[in-house]
């Protein structure tokens, strides 16, 4: 490394001046001359047969240019939408999915027609005039009922609703006998709507003479979208350009391709005009993929002294009506089920179930919050059974030796789990909290302290593991670094920044590696017309550990070439050249120096070494040797009002370890947001459908409760640093950590608060209503309806 002054520094984000000034460039801020506005006519039914579609009235409405249905779209779009193997290579069924329904709709909101008009109001008006005659069919909603032999099916003509049934490690019926105590629990993971503040949106323009398609869309991985669209539209990748400009949040929901990603370009091709569609919030809640939507049946056993013996778990996952493109990724909850602990025995099985709901797909954490929630809940249940302090229970069973190979063959690269927990306990004042709790309990107050010691797998990932999971494309990452004759640098990356601050942090890495001033380095991303042939996008906390390493690798290639050129200029041997603080010199002669910028200028001149090409630029693809494994401990302090069931989240402490840090300000920001989303799951958010009709009941932000500033305390953050041995930068990932850890810290705190009532488990969201009922039932059980008021 040339300089180590930028890496680790709190550098303010260079993207902010435009974003705070209203100069952001989100999809809806772009318009092309002659743009038509597209509205999608969607199924009001969860499951129905389409008997007929009459578009005549809509077609005649003011401003309408075209109305397209399946038969029109099928002229320009071929094949089916992708479903990656992810962590379930063999599936029982993968229903064929086309961007627009032909004969049957299988979830509320599925597209049946699109209307193109001169203005967005005309388009919206006319979409109400499309007459669709439906024959409603039974909606499959409940997972257990869906698996019963006599259940109606999500798709007509299907044999059943089983999407997959995969046992990773089979159960040994004898192992639980080794335990002194055994606890059993069903743990719910409600459906969540990712809800980025910017909804999805697509603007497409087709040039018939050139055969080129340009698409502006809100995406976390524009290259993947280009790949999928090239296949579906029959246009080579060279003639499709996908631009994902400023993106107003993704949280996993802007990874997979959606119906509209095909329909809008198709409509542009069919109509010969640019076409724009911007998702409404209701459409977003209805049709953007949901996260979680699972339940776990778990059994865990331990010895009297707290030593963990066996974990037995089955994940039941609501896939929705189709297999989400990366829907089976969520099965990684099984692979991470053992958490931060040594378990002697483990068994794990995942069951995917098709229902008449919108598909589930990755949402911040994707499988890892579920695993952490499940594992950390079981640790607390065992600790309660053994009357052990939950912190001691954890400490006794933490994995302490690294690298650690899990039951599933995954290799945890590094960790210091007790250190992070100790620090969190110190910040929290854990012992004092326990004293306060004892005092509070004497007064009938329900104070609770909840711990969550989390780990995660991230930095997706090594080609050997990820190529089979995507169906062929390894999730490596690319970068291109170009130095101009004046010494300024442009860096192109295949990751995509939509709040993560790469415009700032990646140049920090380049500045240190190349020894070029930070202000002379620009980052570009999100446009498939620039940079390397393929980029893999931003998700799974991979951008730094994989993308940042690609940037580092490309920069290193340039340093290597510059060193050769410096040796030539100094007429010295290459091995005698020192590169330090951005300067080259011959060992022993530090007075005579050439800066990287001077070498860059020389690289465009005459007199290069024989065989050396001009210029200083490099492309690198980085294939990580392993995943990376961040970890930490969070502690929540809550007080539950036994009369109302209201939860007062009083304090939230988080100590996280993501290895070396490029920019601490960004890391803390990622944690804040992640923690808030996990707390939101614990206390507020839930996608609800009518269980009979399959109608979405949480179709607006009136009903789907995104927390406001008033719902959170200030989070108290601490940090330990355990560098990753996996990569040269020693970095891990932090984008999902907060969400992975926080739901269960809050729920464990609530369970702890309610323990004196004999309440052992609480599901999410722990709304006042749910808790009040549980408290009432618990008190009723002991004092026969004393709490009848209200």
């Amino acid at each position: 490394m040339a300089i180590t002054t930028m890496i680790g520094a709190k550098i303010h984000r260079r993207e902010d001046p435009r974003l705070v000034s209203g100069q952001g460039r989100y999809v809806d801020d772009f318009t092309r001359p002659g743009t038509l506005f597209l509205s999608v006519v969607r199924s009001p039914h969860a499951h129905a047969r389409i008997k007929s579609i009459d578009v005549s009235a809509a077609a005649k409405a003011p401003g309408v240019v075209a109305v397209y249905t399946h038969k029109d779209i099928a002229k320009v779009v071929a094949g089916t939408m992708p479903a990656a193997p992810a962590f379930v290579a063999e599936k029982k069924q993968v229903p064929a999915r086309f961007p627009i329904a032909e004969k049957e709709v299988v979830y509320q909101g599925e597209p049946v027609a699109v209307v193109l008009a001169e203005t967005k109001y005309q388009s919206a008006d006319a979409s109400n005039l499309v007459e669709v005659d439906y024959e409603p069919l039974p909606a499959v909603m409940d997972l257990e009922k869906a698996l019963a032999a006599n259940s109606p099916t999500t798709h007509s003509g299907a044999a059943d609703n089983l999407g997959w049934d995969l046992t990773y490690i089979p159960e040994d019926p004898n192992v639980m006998k080794e335990a002194d105590v055994v606890v059993k629990q069903r743990i719910l993971q409600q459906r969540l709507a990712p809800t980025p503040m910017e909804t999805r949106g697509v603007l497409a323009e087709y040039s018939k003479p050139d055969g080129t398609m340009t698409i502006w869309m809100s995406s976390q991985n524009p290259h993947f979208i280009r790949l999928f669209l090239a296949g579906a539209l029959g246009i080579p990748e060279t003639r499709i350009r996908v631009v994902s400009p400023d993106v107003g949040g993704g949280f996993g929901s802007k990874i997979s391709p959606y119906s509209e990603d095909y329909l809008v370009p198709a409509a542009a091709k069919l109509s010969g005009r640019p076409v724009k569609w911007i998702e409404s919030r209701t459409e977003s809640l209805q049709t953007t993929t949901h996260g979680r939507g699972q339940y776990f049946d778990v059994e865990a056993g331990a010895k009297k002294d707290g030593t963990l013996v066996a974990l037995k778990m089955t994940q039941y996952l609501d896939e929705g009506a189709y297999v989400g493109t990366f829907g089976a990724f969520q099965a990684c909850a099984c692979l991470l089920s053992t958490g931060a602990y040594n378990w002697k025995h483990v068994s794990a099985r995942t069951v995917g179930v098709l229902t008449n709901r919108v598909p589930t797909d990755p949402y911040r954490g994707a499988g890892r919050p579920e695993a952490t929630h499940m594992c950390e809940r079981m640790i607390d249940l065992l600790a309660a059974e053994l009357k052990m302090d939950p912190a001691e229970m954890r400490r006794k069973n933490f994995i302490t030796e690294f690298p650690h190979t899990s039951h599933f063959g995954l290799v945890y690269d590094s960790g210091a789990y007790a250190k992070a927990m100790d620090k969190a306990m110190e910040i929290a004042g854990y012992d004092k909290l326990r004293q306060e709790q004892a005092e509070a309990r004497k007064k009938g107050r329900m104070l609770g302290v909840g711990i969550s010691s989390w780990i995660e797998i991230c930095g997706f990932g090594p080609s050997a593991a990820t190529a089979p999971a995507t169906g062929g494309l390894a999730l490596v990452e690319s970068a291109q670094v170009r130095i101009f004759p004046t010494g300024s640098v442009t860096v192109y990356v295949g990751t995509h920044s939509h709040g993560q601050g790469h415009d700032t942090t990646f140049p920090q890495i380049v500045a240190d590696t190349l020894g070029i001033p930070y202000d002379m380095i620009e980052l570009r991303h999100g446009d498939t017309a620039e940079g390397p042939a393929f980029g893999y996008g931003t998700y799974g906390s991979r951008s730094l550990a994989v993308g940042g390493m690609a940037v580092h690798k490309a920069s290193t290639k340039i340093v290597d070439k510059a060193r050769k050129l410096a040796a030539h200029i100094f007429e010295a041997a290459e091995e005698d050249i020192v590169f330090d603080q951005g300067q080259f010199y011959v060992k022993g002669s530090p007075d005579k120096r050439k800066a990287m910028g001077e070498i860059a200028f020389a690289s465009f001149g005459a007199g290069l070494p024989e065989g050396m090409e001009h210029g200083l630029e490099a492309v690198a693809y980085y294939d990580p040797p392993n995943f990376v494994w961040p970890f930490g401990t969070h502690i929540a302090v809550v007080e539950v009002d036994p009369e109302t069931g209201a939860v007062d989240l009083q304090r939230y402490i988080a100590v996280d370890d993501c290895g070396n840090i490029i920019n601490p300000m960004i890391v803390d920001g990622q944690l804040h947001g992640g923690i808030a989303q996990g707390i939101a799951q614990a206390l507020f958010e839930e996608v609800l459908y009518d269980e009979e009709s399959g109608q979405l009941k949480t179709g607006s932000l009136v009903d789907y409760l995104i927390p406001t500033a008033n719902e959170f305390p200030n989070f108290e953050l601490g940090r330990t640093i355990t560098p990753s041995p996996t990569n040269e930068l020693g970095v891990k990932g932090i984008g999902e950590a907060g969400t992975i850890a926080s739901s269960i810290a809050v729920i464990n705190a609530i369970c702890d608060a309610l323990a004196p009532l004999g309440i052992k488990h609480v599901d999410m969201p722990a709304t006042p209503d749910r808790l009040w009922r549980q408290i009432r039932a618990a008190r009723g059980a002991s004092s026969n309806g004393k709490e009848a008021r209200q």
């Binding site: 709190k10 001046p17 000034s21 803390d668 500033a709 008033n710």
Partner: protein
């Protein structure tokens, strides 16, 4: 049937013929061409479209353009003066009060009104004052910090004038 609407937007007079049903936020974005005001929901929950109407914070999706007749409107684009960021914009930058940036214009406009009404709010007052604006990225921690910091700057703005950051600063 179109109606004539005349407003002042960020100090400039605007006159247009609009449909009576045109929402003010669509007027600003699509007719006036100021896209800094964002749309994040359909039900006036998110606050991304917050602007100042005669100095008062209003979610511009809750008004028709024709209702803005004769009013003074200020959007995020009008907040910086003489090429210098408003203290709130500066504070959001300094305190990492934004990530994806989509809620930011509305959040800053709501905060501007909050500080106009209460120049020295407590953290609780800031949290309550911004209850009409949703952010999905920051957990609000640094938003609260930003508003607190801007309040401090604005209360001592005369002594602090002229302090401008470099494009990359350290602390």
């Amino acid at each position: 049937m179109k109606h004539r609407v005349g407003t002042t937007v960020n100090g400039r007079r605007q006159e247009h013929e609009v449909e009576p049903r045109l929402l003010l936020v669509h007027y600003l974005r699509d007719v006036v061409g100021l896209t800094g005001t964002h749309i994040g929901c359909d039900t006036s929950q998110c606050g991304a479209c917050t602007i100042l109407v005669d100095g008062k914070a209003v979610k511009s999706c809750t008004m028709f353009a024709v209702q803005a007749e004769g009013r003074e409107l200020m959007t995020i684009e009008g907040l910086a003066k003489d090429g210098e960021l408003h203290p709130l914009q500066q504070a959001f930058w300094d305190e990492h009060g934004l990530q994806c940036g989509f809620c930011t214009p509305g959040m800053i406009m709501a905060a501007a009104y909050l500080l106009d009404q209460n120049p020295n709010p407590s953290d609780d007052e800031i949290r309550r004052g911004l209850e009409g604006n949703l952010c999905r990225c920051t957990g609000y921690v640094n938003i609260v910090k930003s508003v607190r910091s801007a309040a401090k700057t604005m209360s001592g703005s005369k002594t602090k004038a002229g302090e401008q950051p470099a494009t990359a600063r350290r602390s």
